[in-house]
């Protein structure tokens, strides 16, 4: 915990899992298994009724004759009945009529595990891109404001004052209002990333500005300027490295916050729309399902969100402590 390496590895693993969704997910996230609505997680067995142990895990399903049969789980295989991507290799699959739903299915019989992975691509990806967007704008504006000072500083910080004075969720809605309501998922994702990025640039800008203006007054910057270095060069080789450490700590705080922002927007129904999965729409479905305690597996996206959030907080804490100790030793 103290090194922060463990949580950081956990975060990386989450991104790796959602990135490899086409391989790890056994089903298409929008494929509806109408014969299995709200199915509980599929039991995976290694011991059969006679007490024999199988090396290959299997699932049980009723065959065409109505009798229960064992269907082996096949690894690194091609799921038969893969209409969308017939050439793709899946990490694991079973032959129909058996089905393998690790986290059960939703009301439409869609595989929760596959939707969790594909939804994670949207939600985690949106958080990452939005934070990158906000940090890019923030670091650029902050460096320029802190380094040049004067009226540029006043103007940029005045603008950031306005953005920080606004209630964050109201601001998000106001910017969202400027975008068309129904768009295809790709453009909706882009729109949400831009919305969150534009709404969130002010905080990193303010922090980076502080760093930049303190760097400006240091002797080595004065020396570089005296030696004829252009402002662009001083910004690049002296201010930017100092700003980077601030930006890194900010990133570990902003990414989970913006992931949650995307999830909240999608939960409100003004983010990524169905049938494309997002953790926000999945959590919304969980709340609408009256018997959600009976269908506990619908809470999988909420559990995943808490897990990722905890990992990010641990990482941010470690980064923050590292920045503090580095500041002391320097």
């Amino acid at each position: 915990m103290t090194s922060g390496l463990g949580p950081a590895i956990g975060v990386a693993a989450a991104y790796l899992a959602v990135l490899s969704a086409p391989v790890v997910a056994p089903y298409d996230p929008t494929a509806q298994h109408r014969e299995h609505p709200l199915a509980p997680p599929t039991g995976i067995h290694v011991v059969d009724r006679e007490g024999r142990v199988h090396l290959r895990p299997f699932v049980l399903a009723n065959g065409a004759d109505g009798a229960a049969r064992a269907y082996p789980v096949r690894f690194f295989t091609r799921a038969s009945g893969d209409v969308e991507a017939p050439s793709s290799v899946r990490l694991f699959a079973v032959d129909p009529p058996a089905a393998i739903f690790l986290f059960g299915t939703d009301t439409l019989g869609r595989d929760q595990f596959s939707r969790l992975l594909y939804g994670g691509r949207i939600s985690l990806g949106a958080g990452l891109l939005a934070a990158a967007c906000a940090l890019t704008i923030g670091v650029l504006c902050g460096c320029v404001a802190g380094f040049f000072g004067g009226w540029v500083d006043t103007a940029i910080m005045g603008a950031s004052d306005i953005f920080m004075a606004l209630p964050w969720l109201y601001l998000l809605l106001a910017i969202r209002a400027a975008l068309p309501l129904t768009v295809d998922p790709g453009r909706a994702l882009l729109a949400i990333v831009l919305v969150i990025g534009i709404a969130g640039w002010a905080r990193p800008a303010r922090l980076v500005r502080g760093v930049a203006s303190s760097v400006r007054s240091r002797d080595f910057v004065a020396a570089a300027t005296a030696a004829g270095a252009s402002p662009a060069r001083v910004l690049r080789s002296h201010v930017a490295p100092e700003a980077f450490s601030v930006a890194l700590t900010q990133a570990s705080i902003l990414i989970p916050q913006y992931t949650l922002a995307e999830i909240t927007l999608s939960f409100f129904g003004i983010g990524i729309g169905e049938p494309t999965p997002s953790w926000g729409t999945m959590i919304g479905a969980m709340l609408r399902q009256e018997l959600s305690v009976a269908h506990w597996w619908l809470a999988a996206p909420a559990a995943a969100l808490v897990g990722v959030s905890l990992l990010y907080h641990a990482t941010a804490d470690a980064l923050h402590r590292r920045a503090l100790t580095m500041g002391v030793t320097r």
Binding site: D161, A165, Y170, A174, A177, I270, I283, A302, V306, H313
Partner: protein, 327 residues
């Protein structure tokens, strides 16, 4: 004294001018953004397909949507200054009373949450700071840290689910059906029952980071040289904690109070939607969904104004109680 109050008055005027400027800029940005966005309330999806383009153009003309942007903004600004915020296209009603009622509901919720939060945060922060060396204090501090990491949305959802399962508390709304007829004590009890869950959600969202901040600033103050000097002179621990440290820590706490107002105000929007509390949040969300531009504009401007007032109050309070900060 008089010089100080004069300085405070000029500061107050500066705050008012600045808030006015922010409101004008924000209203212009939201106005321009919503107006320039593709589609409006008379988009094809919102109306009968059988309407002719001429009829739609007539409707747009009647609502004044076909005039130049700057003219419309100038008109909006002038009527807003007179308290007229325009008409809602979706509600077919003037916006000012609509938004005012919702804003009152939001403010009631935020005010209640603010009081409950600080009633819990202050003693708990002091307690965790005082018990810093012992296990129970550390457990509570760690619990607060863990709660920070739980996403706000999930806190609200879990509370709603628990309330729905247990059936003890209402999961949404302002009052029971027909509750408007109840009078006196019954009406108040009903209000409290309905606001219990949203206030609890807001407290659970806002309190943990505040406990951590209060604890940190108290620990800072306790470790400062003059508190050590007080200890050396034999002043008892309790007195050091409550008299010396807490007073020194009051300054960051007042700033925190202003920040907590902003955080609660923003979080309350989400809580209002999840728990169907008829505040500004659901109104604004519906306005975004129906492209009711005037309502979006009025809602965002009003929310900003309320937040600015809260922040200014905190700042003025800070400067009037702390002689070290020049006004």
């Amino acid at each position: 004294m008089s010089a100080r109050s004069a300085a405070l008055r000029s500061l107050f005027i500066r705050h008012v001018v600045r808030a006015g400027a922010v409101l004008v800029v924000v209203s212009w940005l939201v106005f321009a953004a919503t107006a320039l966005a593709p589609g409006d309330a008379f988009g094809e999806a919102r109306l009968e397909r059988t309407l002719s383009p001429e009829a739609i153009a007539a409707l747009r003309h009647a609502e004044g949507l076909d005039r130049p942007l700057l003219v419309r903004y100038a008109q909006w600004l002038r009527s807003a200054a007179h308290g007229d915020l325009g008409r809602s296209i979706a509600y077919r009603a003037p916006i000012a009373p609509l938004v005012a009622q919702r804003a009152v509901n939001s403010l009631l919720l935020v005010a209640a949450a603010l009081i409950v939060t600080w009633t819990i945060v202050l003693p708990l922060g002091v307690w965790t700071a005082a018990r810093d060396r012992s296990t129970d204090g550390r457990i509570v501090a760690a619990g607060a840290t863990a709660l920070i990491a739980v996403p706000d949305l999930l806190i609200a959802i879990v509370l709603v689910l628990v309330a729905a399962r247990s059936g003890v508390l209402p999961t949404g709304g302002l009052r029971a059906a027909g509750g408007a007829d109840a009078a006196g004590f019954a009406a108040i009890a009903d209000r409290i029952r309905h606001s219990f869950l949203p206030v609890l959600a807001l407290t659970l969202i806002a309190a943990p980071p505040l406990v951590r901040h209060v604890r940190a600033s108290l620990l800072d103050a306790l470790a400062s040289p003059y508190v050590l000097a007080a200890a050396a002179r034999g002043i008892p621990y309790r007195r050091r904690l409550w008299r010396s440290a807490l007073r020194a820590a009051a300054n960051p706490l007042v700033s925190l109070f202003g920040l907590s107002f902003a955080a609660l105000f923003s979080a309350s929007m989400m809580v209002e939607v999840v728990m169907s509390w008829p505040g500004l949040g659901p109104l604004l969300l519906d306005a975004v969904r129906t492209r009711d531009e005037q309502v979006i504009l009025a809602g965002v401007v009003l929310a900003t104004a309320l937040l600015l007032v809260g922040n200014s109050c905190a700042d003025l309070l800070l400067r009037s109680i702390d002689p070290r900060i020049s006004a």
